[in-house]
């Protein structure tokens, strides 16, 4: 089901996610509503356990809400089966994880080109694009290294290259700087910001790192699964 041209890229409508632990019901998210337009650079902030990761998982269709609806690029995720959701992620979503999550048996270049390969991009075009991207993220000369031979920062940059190689409409990043030193974290944020600016890619990243929040254009603060604050960050306040 699609809506008109004014449809935002991402829309969450009264979304709740609850888990049952024994006889207890725990709300990870409660009644969350917000939209993300194309080209936004949004930080989901909040302390641990506030529901940031759950929110990102729901946005990508990796998890299903107990109540409410998630719309991604005009499609109601509840109406899609697992195969269709995987296809949707392949076509429209890039993922960056806190724990890097590269495929250990593939080299940096193979990891970065993985999604392009699944999308059937011809080999030559794929190689050119991925090598340029790896160069851009500072991994030139490390293309054939496997994840185990790369530092944490280098792995995260490979993960970024993989997430953006196919030019997705939406990149979801779950605490992307949490395991990086300050210098690497800033370099990564610069890269994400530039991609956002130059390609119009929408970024939605969870964080509780003030350094990251300073760079966001909009901050959605979660507390106990609810949106506490949803605010635009004035340009002069950005780090």
């Amino acid at each position: 089901m699609t809506t008109g041209k004014s449809e935002p890229l991402l829309r969450l409508d009264r979304v709740s996610r609850q888990y049952t632990q024994g006889e207890q019901t725990v709300y990870a998210l409660r009644d969350v509503t917000f939209t993300a337009e194309k080209g936004e650079f949004i930080a989901i902030a909040g302390p641990s356990g506030s529901g940031k990761t759950t929110l990102l998982n729901l946005c990508a269709g990796l998890d299903r809400p107990t109540e409410g609806t998630v719309w991604l690029n005009g499609r109601n995720l509840a109406e899609l089966n697992r195969h269709q959701l995987a296809r949707l992620r392949l076509e429209e979503v890039g993922f960056i994880f806190q724990a890097f999550n590269l495929i250990p048996v593939l080299s940096a270049e193979e990891n970065a080109e993985f999604i392009l390969l699944l999308r059937g991009v011809p080999a030559r075009e794929r190689k050119e694009k991925v090598r340029a991207l790896l160069k851009e993220v500072g991994l030139q000369g490390m293309e054939s290294r496997r994840p185990g031979q790369l530092s944490g920062g280098q792995q995260q940059r490979v993960a970024v290259a993989r997430a953006i190689a196919a030019e997705p409409k939406l990149v979801l990043a779950d605490e992307p700087t949490a395991n990086l030193d300050t210098e690497t974290a800033f370099a990564l944020l610069n890269l994400l910001e530039r991609l956002n600016r130059e390609h119009g890619t929408t970024f939605l990243f969870s964080t509780h790192d003030p350094r990251v929040m300073q760079r966001a254009h909009r901050i959605i603060r979660l507390l106990d699964g609810r949106i506490e604050i949803d605010e635009q960050v004035p340009t002069f306040n950005r780090g």
């Binding site: 990796l62 995987a86 076509e91």
Partner: protein, 419 residues
């Protein structure tokens, strides 16, 4: 296509993440396949030897007889001279195609032998000595005296048991009495013992005597008739085909039997033995299957986070399912390759060197009317090798279905956040 390429590469590399486990799993399957091929080779080899032994001891790959002779017998059910000519004509025309090597006419009767020291009921076989020597093993079983010679009209080769009952030895005389084929009168002839044979088959040795076909015809009153034309083939596997064709060509007064129809006890023994072997092999592979299934499932469960990652980046459930199947296929391919080489090497060794049964049995063994050779030589058809390899390959594949389903449908998104 590109997606399948990456699946092939991913599966192959995943295999070697835990080398020891992969080698152990593939090794167990290889060993299972190798043993299966060796067991099949020994089983088939022993069966081939039993069939050959039975055929060479008075049997036939294909037997032409008067219609009804196999079921009801009767000395009067003979093959006429004109039918005999038709049989020879058919054999001549199809000799090369059917691989016919020997054609042996025979006459049979039940009779009574007596000497000064005893009497005994016997089965009399009339045969052409020189032709039989070129194929049959009667002459190899002689323990005393010599085999029949052409024109030796008063000679007889008798079983060891007959010699014992009648207390006669080569050179001594005895009387054979039979009823004529076309008259109710008892015919008798005085014969001299040419040789004594010991085949290892007690029933045979206690009640069989061999005489020349000419003597038998005269004694039984057969003129130019016989009871059976035994046809030998290069390959016993062609027996049924030859019999089928013979029945079409020689339809009417004759029946053409394959060795299976001529020697049903032997056929049934082999079937039962094969059945037992199949059950044993199936149980053997069932045990191996649990090991393989467990290994594959463990391998998937250990990579739950990775499957969650693949799901997150758009690797569809169907592709994850195929990924695990391809991993299993790689293991199966390696196992089948190594297992076939090992098994075939074992077969070749046993084909040329043989397996001495003396390792297991102290005395000669007989079963289903044939003596089992003291050394078994493996015999393995390529269809057995290919069939076994395919069974093992697809079995491994089937065992991977459950782990593949787990890999495709696992919901482990929470693991992606773990550092």
């Amino acid at each position: 296509m590109q997606a399948f390429q990456i699946i092939l590469i991913l599966a192959w590399r995943n295999l070697w993440r835990n080398k020891r486990r992969t080698i152990l799993t593939a090794g167990v399957v290889s060993l299972g396949l190798a043993l299966l091929l060796i067991f099949l080779g020994i089983g088939d080899g022993s069966h081939q030897q039993m069939i050959r032994g039975a055929v060479r001891l008075g049997g036939a790959h294909v037997a032409v007889q008067a219609a009804g002779y196999q079921a009801r017998g009767g000395i009067e059910r003979t093959i006429s001279a004109s039918d005999l000519a038709r049989i020879y004509s058919w054999v001549q025309s199809r000799r090369d195609e059917l691989g016919i090597t020997h054609v042996l006419p025979r006459a049979f009767a039940s009779g009574l032998v007596s000497s000064a020291d005893g009497a005994s009921g016997v089965r009399v076989i009339g045969l052409e000595p020189e032709k039989e020597k070129s194929f049959s093993s009667f002459h190899e079983k002689l323990v005393r005296g010599h085999f029949l010679a052409p024109g030796d009209d008063t000679g007889a080769v008798i079983g060891e048991g007959v010699a014992r009952k009648l207390e006669i030895e080569p050179g001594e005389k005895f009387v054979l009495m039979v009823q004529g084929a076309h008259s109710p009168e008892i015919q008798s002839v005085l014969l001299r013992v040419s040789g004594v044979m010991q085949t290892g088959l007690e029933d045979f040795d206690q009640a069989t005597i061999l005489i020349t076909l000419d003597t038998a015809r005269e004694l039984f009153g057969l003129d130019d008739q016989v009871h059976q034309v035994a046809i030998m083939l290069e390959r016993q596997e062609q027996s049924e085909e030859a019999a089928r064709e013979g029945n079409q060509v020689l339809a009417g007064e004759l029946e053409v039997l394959s060795w299976q129809e001529l020697m049903p006890e032997l056929r049934d023994f082999i079937r039962i033995d094969d059945g037992g072997n199949y059950v044993f092999n199936a149980m053997f592979f069932l045990i191996i299957s649990f090991l393989v299934a467990n290994t594959l499932l463990m391998s998937v469960l250990e990579r739950r986070r990775e499957f969650a990652l693949l799901d997150a980046i758009g690797f569809t459930p169907a592709r994850r399912f195929v990924l695990v199947l391809v991993e299993a296929a790689w293991i199966a391919f390696l196992a089948v390759l190594v297992g076939t080489v090992l098994g075939y090497a074992g077969h070749l060794y046993l084909h040329y060197r043989g397996l001495p049964l003396s390792l297991f049995y102290s005395s000669e063994m007989a079963a289903a009317g044939t003596v089992i050779d003291p050394v078994i030589y493996s015999d393995l058809a390529w269809t057995r090798v290919v069939g076994s390899a395919l069974i093992v390959f697809f079995l491994t594949f089937i065992l991977a279905l459950l782990p593949a389903w787990r890999g495709a449908t696992g919901q482990d998104v929470q693991l992606l956040g773990q550092v």
